[in-house]
Symmetry: C2
Subunit: 198 residues, 2 copies
Amino acid sequence: MGRPREFDVDDALETAMELFWRKGYEGTSLTDLTEGMGITKPSLYGVFGNKEGLFLKALERYERTKMNFFHEALKEPKARDVAEKILRGFAESQTAETGPSGCLGINGALACSEAAAEIQKCLIENRQRGERDLGRRFERAAKEGDLPAGHEPYDLARYVMTISQGTAIQAASGADRPALYRVIDMALQFWPETVAQN
Amino acid sequence: MGRPREFDVDDALETAMELFWRKGYEGTSLTDLTEGMGITKPSLYGVFGNKEGLFLKALERYERTKMNFFHEALKEPKARDVAEKILRGFAESQTAETGPSGCLGINGALACSEAAAEIQKCLIENRQRGERDLGRRFERAAKEGDLPAGHEPYDLARYVMTISQGTAIQAASGADRPALYRVIDMALQFWPETVAQN
DNA sequence: CGAATTGTGTACCGATCGGTATAAAAAAAT
DNA sequence: ATTTTTTTATACCGATCGGTACACAATTCG
């Protein structure tokens, strides 16, 4: 009961996500947010708690709507396809024609003041979690004889994540999707199309 | 003549560089700067103009003292050695035990408010200039038959810079030097030690 | 119809932001 | 010793930061 909300929470969160994505956590002011979302500060605080809570919910939405390819990719039967799907998935989300360039998980708070230390830590853990999940997937691949010879699963995971994070910087600097695809093709070249079957 | 300056300009600039490196342009306040440098605001403004001027001078110092390996690497006779020296040079400066992790050219202003747009643009151009210089070097290598077959010089340059930027994120997230070296070893694997001699 | 509940608009809070006016302090020049 | 020049310290500027108190508007429940 009570007075009905005059805005759509999901729409507002989508806008907040895009703002944080483009300008980072500290670079986005409450004025940016309220003007962009079309709501007042008390409404924002009523629904999302505070700026930090809003960012975390925006990050959650980002993971759910833009990073869904990641855990889908882990289901690929061949490790090389896992890597390729992840690399292409990142490149695509980083260079969408509509929406900001780069990656919210990096743009959000790469280097920041002490006031954003908690957000920064959260984003670091977020990236490490993805890398760990990929490493686990490659561990399985190692047991299946599905990895390039002479490499540790977690090193391969770091390799793939490093390329993905590199393309995030490239995208944030203006690189377009075809350019990133060419980088990815090179990065995958050392990974044989077909690994020795046993 | 006049009253002598009570601080060393170079020491102060070194401190400012490290602060901007660790906390970014907008994440570093004038209070951070003056307290770290051990000087007052009027002294800072007297010598460096304003915050933006101080950042640009800090960036200049960074390029001169931390990125000197880059143009040295371009002088290597073989393209693969150019690439390897650049990749290892970045990884080393990003993981120095003393000093901040990552890269000032990325941490400085990856995503930011409109107030820092000029700094952001300057850093983007900075990165693109490096990539272009490397591309030019690889163009020469192509003429010398010193490139892996089937790749454009500027694509290879983007590839190398993407890895370097990726390791910058990795370092900012806590990855240590040996971990980055292993990534670099993988990234170089697709680049034959010896290219077909003609 | 009240009464209770919830969202909205306005106006404000203390703290901090980058930046500066002013005057005292410390040196060189005369 | 006095003037001139430069740097220093203090104290302040308007603007903006994230966040909130308060009154009012809009709905449901009794």
